[in-house]
Symmetry: D2
């Protein structure tokens, strides 16, 4: 079994009718729903409002892949928990950072760059696959149409990705490296742009398929969960 924790800030769902209507069980609930259809996925959820944000040492130790959506409360997120997530990724936990999590504390700690970008609500997106042979692109058409999404635009200040799997086209003239993989320590990371809270993007089957594929890609199968250390060689 691949043990997945879907973490969601879960603020907008409490406060905005439009979001509540699209995601009545929260973004985390929606993602859990399509993940549990996979026979070998075991899915747990947690939110900002849980104690320790629901991301205790124990939870993370028992998580193979963390899926993470955050936005409005990024500044209020615990520094300690952000460092804890980083430590677990470096030790081998997979990480899928969704949409506005580009600017989460934990992802900025792992990337080292500013992770800044341009943004605008309510544009059409076409998501193009640039790396059709990548495991995350398996079974994905060369283009996915998203009727409405938040535009994210370049320059996107990211370190050199391992691979740019998807690029986004937006109706107002912008492009974006929308699906990028990174490695940090023993952890495999996928950043994926689509998923603004007021758009029903996580209900789109192809988007769900990408996230399922990304879970398999980031899963640390056969990786011993120990943080890399400096090591003196003798003799």
């Amino acid at each position: 079994m691949i043990r997945i924790t879907v973490w969601n800030e879960n603020k907008h769902e409490q406060e905005l009718d439009v979001v509540k209507k699209i995601y009545p069980e929260g973004i985390h609930g929606c993602i859990k729903d399509f993940l549990i259809r996979e026979e070998d996925f075991e899915v747990h959820t947690a939110t900002f409002y849980d104690e320790d944000h629901g991301l205790t040492e124990e939870v993370l130790s028992n998580t193979d892949v963390l899926i993470y959506w955050s936005h409005a409360l990024q500044d209020q997120f615990s520094d300690e928990v952000a460092e804890r997530i980083k430590r677990h990724v470096l030790s081998g936990m997979g990480l899928i950072a969704l949409h506005s999590a580009h600017y989460s504390k934990m992802l900025r700690l792992l990337m080292g760059s500013t992770m800044t970008l341009k943004w605008k609500h309510d544009e059409e997106e076409k998501l193009w696959c640039l790396a059709p042979l990548h495991p995350i692109a398996k079974g994905i058409p060369e283009c996915i149409s998203i009727p409405e999404e938040e535009m994210y635009g370049e320059p996107f200040d990211i370190p050199k990705p391992d691979d740019v799997v998807f690029a986004g086209w937006f109706s107002n003239g912008y492009v974006f490296r929308s699906g990028c993989t990174f490695t940090r320590g023993k952890g495999k990371i996928f950043y994926f742009q689509p998923g603004h809270e007021t758009n029903p993007t996580y209900h789109i089957p192809e988007i769900q398929r990408i996230i399922v594929n990304a879970v398999r890609f980031c899963n640390p199968e056969g990786i011993k969960r120990i943080m890399p250390q400096n090591k003196e060689v003798k003799g």
Copy 2:
């Protein structure tokens, strides 16, 4: 001095009024005109119709950077001259391949992939800079608007580039890795998408600046022009 040969097929300029009007001296003439403003550039031109396509052993031996535009006569281009260009690039000659030269014999020989893509005439393009610190992006704004260009779209079957410097957005919903660098042997290569013959793209100052920058980037300064060889190590 950087010794540049601007090579152009020069067929459309002879046959189509619309092209003749935009490029009365041919695409090669236009490119030469803006290059010679640089004090350290020495510019020579050649076309398909010259003997040996104007790309003799002697011409290439005296070329630091070859700029190459081709389209309708790619199949008729001499296999021998295509191999000769490849050999000179591997020995250190810089190469800037423009627009439809993505499918030239010589570039496919150097890349090894099919270099295929999607295309459609007469779309608007916005050219975004993804690598603002790259030497080819020096002094270039983050976005260049091109009122009308030929759309080139992903998937673009290219080997992993050294860097993707520019990405193109097109009004009909496509994106493209429009400016990519590659290294082959001792040669530095820049592929640059804009420049359809019926659009006045090479008259745009920012596009000219990119080509000037690319000449400096691809120039094999201090590189000894000898083809790499297998070498046995003794002792």
Copy 3:
């Protein structure tokens, strides 16, 4: 089933006692022997001396992954068959090029660079893993000791690899990017340096494991075997 063709020049095995002794069934026979232990591998062999080198249109159409060892007869290899292999790789056939196949016609056609390097017989090698999370490194220790191998040394004139999975250390002071992945068209390629004919390298279990992993990595599972084409977009 993954359908594998192991191709071997098979010249040294006929002529040199030292090679015959190490590989009585040929290098291809040895590789076949450890591959067929995998339940989902179906293994076929072919050699230089077979008609059309045993690599007919039909054979390649029914090959998911081609493993290829060549050396002394590279110049005599058919140009037509080399182009045929390239075409099948671009259409999705996986390729594992071993040792001196760095300089095979088909690999140089696919890479575009000179593929040249330094070499010297009879050195000790230590093969280090640089990308422990790569699928080809699964279950592989961080270092494999090879008591005697042919040294291959940098500069190795290769295009930018997708990933450098292994690096070789040699007792006479040289290093080498010994395990590199590339993508061309729909084909995944792994170049792997160890395997000189007078050294029993393909009998080492960890080396065998790497080749098994590479077969799985290069296998075009779910990829439709059609060569990418330029395509006009309408409307």
Copy 4:
């Protein structure tokens, strides 16, 4: 002028005769001495023991390229100053991190990975150039012999480098990605392994040439020193 700050911990030089003898003016003094031979270099030095480690807001604002050597006091280095350095790199200051600075706070903040490696004193090193066309390799021979250095060995837990310019071979059987470039925000970074305090490595002319080249490469010429920001697009 390129304004350079050479920062050195300067602890070993105070305490160990062997270091004092090799670097009577400190490692920073030695580096300054060979840098100031370049007509367009303006060189300033600072050490751990200066107030704010000599790396105040004002000093960094007036530094184009920071060269940084650290080792024994990395844990005691101010968190605030480490964050300050990171901020200035993201805003465009170039950074050259030398040897044991792989494990400095500021570099780990910028890289996000653990930056761990293997190590052993007193081995012979051969430094091979893997990217002879890279600006940092200009005028550098394909191999530099270093009679004695501290061995650093793989696996080196670094993010995917922009380029691996040099690889180290060590007499005890290890290899290392010894010269790597990275981009973070507007800052260009070069990590360079040679330079253990008890070995006179910075007196080697080719090593000095690499550092001079790296200063030119990392210099943010024409880059406006403002931290990248998220930006809403209107209309």
